[in-house]
């Protein structure tokens, strides 16, 4: 059940995740964090529905709660003192605000990696690494091929070992099984490298084959994402967008340019979600 986002070219997908994570973490900005939080929550929900909600409730939200609690406990900066800790350190409004913002950011990051792990399957990541680092991508491919085989053999070895019925500790069982697996992996690898050489590995500089197609749409998307992130970073560096938490929480800079930046960023974050939703509407209207 692939959705429209999963049909993007791997490079486009990667640039999406990259631009979002850079803008989100380059500077803690409550508005950006909010947009990211809701935008990625929508994306996660569109991609995986129930599973995403379950994961959020179980792991992502608690993780961000920790951040919200931790910050005021350790950070005592800020001018607006709300109360004092028993050890005499101040409990400030600014540190609470900062904690909430960074908690939201961590949660947004969890959402981002959730989508990333669902969408960027191993062959997509390998395609990306393979463009630049061919040997590396081949090693990853080989490892991913061995892992299921190793697991299958491990299951067999465990059974065979249990059947021997030796009376020894679990640790000793583990050692025997591990030794058996190491021996087996090494021995099989000898044949395997013969098979690679038999098919001409190492004679010439390898190319890296892939089955992805780069479409015009991908060019538009990438251009859009790069322009938006470039715009935002420029605004940030020229201090047209300006946020500080300490000593006082302060929002400043050029109001109009800031608003334009936030709107543009919202479009960037929502881009895959919009694509998925438009596609669903189209299908429904076609039927």
């Amino acid at each position: 059940m692939a959705n429209q986002f999963e049909r993007w070219h791997p490079l486009t997908q990667f640039i999406y995740f990259l631009t979002v994570i850079v803008i989100m973490t380059v500077k803690l900005n409550p508005l950006i964090t909010l947009v990211t939080f809701f935008g990625l929550a929508l994306l996660g929900f569109l991609i995986a529905r129930g599973d995403f909600l379950k994961m959020s409730a179980r792991f992502f939200l608690p993780a961000s709660l920790i951040a919200i609690v931790i910050n005021p406990l350790f950070s005592h900066e800020g001018a607006t003192i709300l109360a004092y800790f028993p050890d005499g350190n101040p409990f400030t409004l600014e540190s609470v605000l900062y904690g909430i913002a960074s908690g939201l950011m961590i949660c947004g990051m969890c959402f981002l990696f959730y989508s990333f792990n669902t969408v960027m399957t191993s062959d997509r990541i390998m395609y990306l690494t393979g463009r630049l680092f061919r040997t590396l991508s081949l090693i990853i491919s080989m490892t991913l091929r061995f892992i299921p085989e190793f697991k299958r053999q491990l299951d067999k070895v465990k059974k065979a070992h249990r059947c021997l019925g030796l009376k020894q500790s679990r640790l000793k069982d583990g050692i025997d099984i591990m030794n058996s697996m190491i021996m087996w992996s090494f021995e099989k690898s000898i044949d395997r490298s013969d098979s690679m050489r038999a098919r001409g590995y190492g004679i010439r500089r390898r190319t890296s084959f892939h089955i992805f197609t780069f479409t015009v749409r991908d060019i538009y998307y990438i251009a859009l994402m790069l322009i938006v992130s470039g715009w935002y970073l420029t605004m940030l560096f020229t201090e047209n967008i300006y946020v500080t938490f300490y000593p006082l929480f302060y929002y400043g800079g050029n109001l109009i340019l800031s608003i334009i930046s936030y709107v543009l960023y919202s479009v960037l974050v929502l881009l895959p979600s919009i694509d998925i939703i438009l596609e669903e509407i189209k299908w429904k209207s076609l039927q």
Partner: protein
């Protein structure tokens, strides 16, 4: 300008990997060499699954160190970084991926740097390896991962907050240290024997 050092440090880590990767591509490694790396990464990544019946037993770091010892610093680095990367394929990538790659890669690299010469001469002392393993687990791996936690969770860092995070991470790091020492004591010699046999069979 930035209070959040997380992004910058990630970028620095990623940039620091690049020379090694370029070196790997330039070298055009032999089929047997990359096969051995792939096999070692598989063993490392799945070592936890072998000992699944023993709680808290994490042999990953130990096998990265052994790989470094047996095949040198470069391979140790490669096995370390790839093991972190690929085990996250199975459990999900996250903001920690890059840091784990750095931590494991560095441990493998140092193990190779310190011990691979002795290994080649056949003068490997398991006790020394174990001591190194403990330090690697508690100081290098634990230290890097705790720094990651601190950077991600706290924008403005104070000595206090850093100290608090390291202290709270200490029990976990100590468990990892003990596991690593135990694994190294159990597997260094036998793995060395097996690697020697493979190298002989490979004509390496």
């Amino acid at each position: 300008m930035f209070e959040n050092y997380y992004l910058i440090s990630c970028i620095i880590i990623i940039l620091s990997f690049i020379p090694f990767m370029v070196m790997l591509e330039r070298r055009k490694p032999h089929a047997r060499e990359i096969m051995l790396v792939a096999v070692l990464v598989t063993i490392t990544v799945l070592s936890r699954a072998v000992f699944f019946m023993i709680p808290f037993f994490k042999p990953i770091l130990a096998f990265v160190i052994i790989s470094g010892i047996g095949l040198g610093a470069r391979t140790g680095l490669l096995v370390g970084t790839l093991s972190a990367f690929i085990s996250n394929f199975m459990f999900g990538q996250g903001p920690w991926t890059v840091w784990q790659m750095l931590a494991l890669g560095l441990c493998g690299f140092l193990a190779g740097l310190i011990f691979s010469g002795r290994y080649d001469e056949g003068k490997l002392h398991t006790v020394l390896v174990c001591i190194f393993g403990f330090i690697a687990a508690v100081v290098i791996y634990g230290g890097i991962m705790d720094t990651y936690t601190a950077l991600l969770y706290m924008g403005n860092m104070t000595k206090q907050s850093f100290f608090a995070i390291y202290l709270s991470g200490l029990p976990v790091n100590l468990i990892l240290g003990i596991c690593t020492v135990l694994c190294l004591a159990l597997f260094t010699k036998s793995m060395a024997r097996k690697l020697r046999r493979v190298k002989y069979k490979y004509n390496m």
